[in-house]
Symmetry: C2
Amino acid sequence: MEKKSNKVKPSILSGFMELLPREQILFNRMLETIKRTYELFGFIPLDTPAIEKAEILLAKAGGETEKQIYRLKKGDADLALRFDLTVPLARYVAQYYPELAFPFKRYHIAKVYRGERPQKGRFREFYQCDIDIIGDCDLDLANDAEIPSVIYEVFRRLGFSNFTIRLNNRKILNGFFASLGIGEKAVDIMRAVDKLEKIGQREVEKELLGLEIPESTIKKLLSFISIRGGVKDSLASLKKLEIKNELFLQGVSELEKVVEMVSMFGVPKENFAIDLTIARGLDYYTGTVYETILNDYPGIGSVCSGGRYDNLAENYTDKKLPGVGISIGLTRLFPQLLEAGIIKPSSGTIVRVMVVPLTDKIEKAIEIASALREKGIPTAIYLEEVKPAKIFKYADRIGVPFIAIIGDDEIKENVVSLKNMETKEQKKLSLEEVYDMVA
Amino acid sequence: MEKKSNKVKPSILSGFMELLPREQILFNRMLETIKRTYELFGFIPLDTPAIEKAEILLAKAGGETEKQIYRLKKGDADLALRFDLTVPLARYVAQYYPELAFPFKRYHIAKVYRGERPQKGRFREFYQCDIDIIGDCDLDLANDAEIPSVIYEVFRRLGFSNFTIRLNNRKILNGFFASLGIGEKAVDIMRAVDKLEKIGQREVEKELLGLEIPESTIKKLLSFISIRGGVKDSLASLKKLEIKNELFLQGVSELEKVVEMVSMFGVPKENFAIDLTIARGLDYYTGTVYETILNDYPGIGSVCSGGRYDNLAENYTDKKLPGVGISIGLTRLFPQLLEAGIIKPSSGTIVRVMVVPLTDKIEKAIEIASALREKGIPTAIYLEEVKPAKIFKYADRIGVPFIAIIGDDEIKENVVSLKNMETKEQKKLSLEEVYDMVA
């Protein structure tokens, strides 16, 4: 009589990303590169709970956030999962203000949660890789110029070269809107303008009409945001508009200084540009804003965005804490890079060598493995029953580049038979030679 | 007229750990050491969603787990936060079985969630640092012996020397219980025995009486689990009991082989021992079990535990997938190590050098910083208005060991004034000399 199986079908929730080992290794390498670069620029690590009080995360509630947030009760407590890393940062600096040194430069690489409708490229759990520089009362504009140099270095180290960091300043937009007499609608207008690349000019026009903006004003608006050309030309075009609005002029002056310093910070001319269409949907940005486009894959959208905000933690403290920061959403980016063939999961395993003891005596295998590990070489020992065909298949599947075989002969001769799994070449080598080969 | 403040008080939930920067840096270094060591032994990284279907996580429901689990609804979906990394691993290997190569060796370092009553050292969100080796049908006993060598290497690299990895085998316990005719109560007995160190012999006796075990049997039980002495003596004592139960004999034989191999795997004699009181509370262990004790701080309890299980994924698949693994609960361990003074948060920041441009011209500062970064030295540039006293205070607070000052003189002479923040010594140096000093 057969017992009825009552197994639970193994599966994960839709909208959640999970990777197979080779993809995971690649993903982690990219995370590591981002982390390492952030640290090189002097950002220190931070970690905050993924669950916080709902009143904290929803202090500045608003439409989408409240709808998308994962909320839960435990006893009487009203909890929620963080939906970004900026709100927890704001809470953190407000909470520990007396114990922190400002400018406070931190990076935070962690998962955040948004119950969005699952669709291609949108995940409900995703990594954000954030850096922010928070000042106490003031924060020099030079920080706005250093940020693009971090973006540049991250993407360079990730292996990209043809990308553009687009810069704008919200004061230019806000000042321009004010000069047109539509200042109080600035936030809504910027939300619409921000979609230009995604939905096209006609749809943006429709949205603007929906905001009851006169057609003549919309025309001015669209001709303004279509200012193109190099950094110098763009700035010249902006000045030629002869707008007297103070905020506008301040924005132009800030943008001019920032782009000048961005060069000083070592970002090549071809890797940054002024783009007046960039507004960033979020309404807390108040100055410089950034987007980053892979020029060969504009469809992926911005791969790194952020900006300057006047007052990070206003929901939690009276302290004025201006800051500037960016975020890389690696979980969204990763499958698109894979699909476009820009990155490849076949780049291998972390294991460099698998030591295979052919005899019962595993001491020699352990000795070799320990010696390689002492030198920093990730090394596995094959400890199962030895069936050569099976071992080679296994080595191929996990993608290990070298197998070190140790049989009676090798023990006698005090050598290792090292097989290169790519070239299929096999050689008897001393431990030193093995190290030179696999390092 | 003053506006009424309606700030939300910045705070986190009780039972959640959050660290200040210096502690966080130390915590991350420890995580990094654990990760690096796991990789050196050939474990590959895995990452799974923190949220899973409740039916998956509760497939093998049971008392505490169901009470402690964070459960939430989103739309119609019944979700929960993972409470360990083993259940997600079981689900993962069952789900992707055809695409994985076995033995499947993975590490997973991530947060898990348990709504326990908050108390000292118990956190509701905590990191687990797990490794497991999963076989397909079979998994050689040698793997049980390799695991202690990983534990040894991790704690050695974390800076510990006086610790003992305690080994036992559940078959010995189960066989012994069967020989006493109390086999069907084995799980409950082991749960009670497992608490010996925590609650003392008398309380354990009470619990055993509560299980309706005859007093004479309890006596035998307690004299059995108090077998002490070196590895050889313990094995000899076990054999002297002359118990004929087959499972018992198999357990003794396994334990004997494992401890013999543990030596071969390079674990010094003083760092492991047999301890028959170790049962591990979880009932899925079926063979070797481990605990690790810091001998100078036995009160901390086991800092690394685990064991062998016959059938990892039986709730999700018919495949027989035996495995062996361990877990380090770093979040619980960390504050205890701090409190005992075993680790110290003052060990610094990740930033090695802060470059301070005294002039308006920041190019030279950027040049120095870029050169140091290219050599892998984490370097920050001080970009705020220069007030020397403030800068030194800032440098002290963030704990940066070196400040590189660049003024007009330094630019003229093509040098850097490097100040050692500890010795307060300041010297004019070339870039090469700076590098040698700070590397």
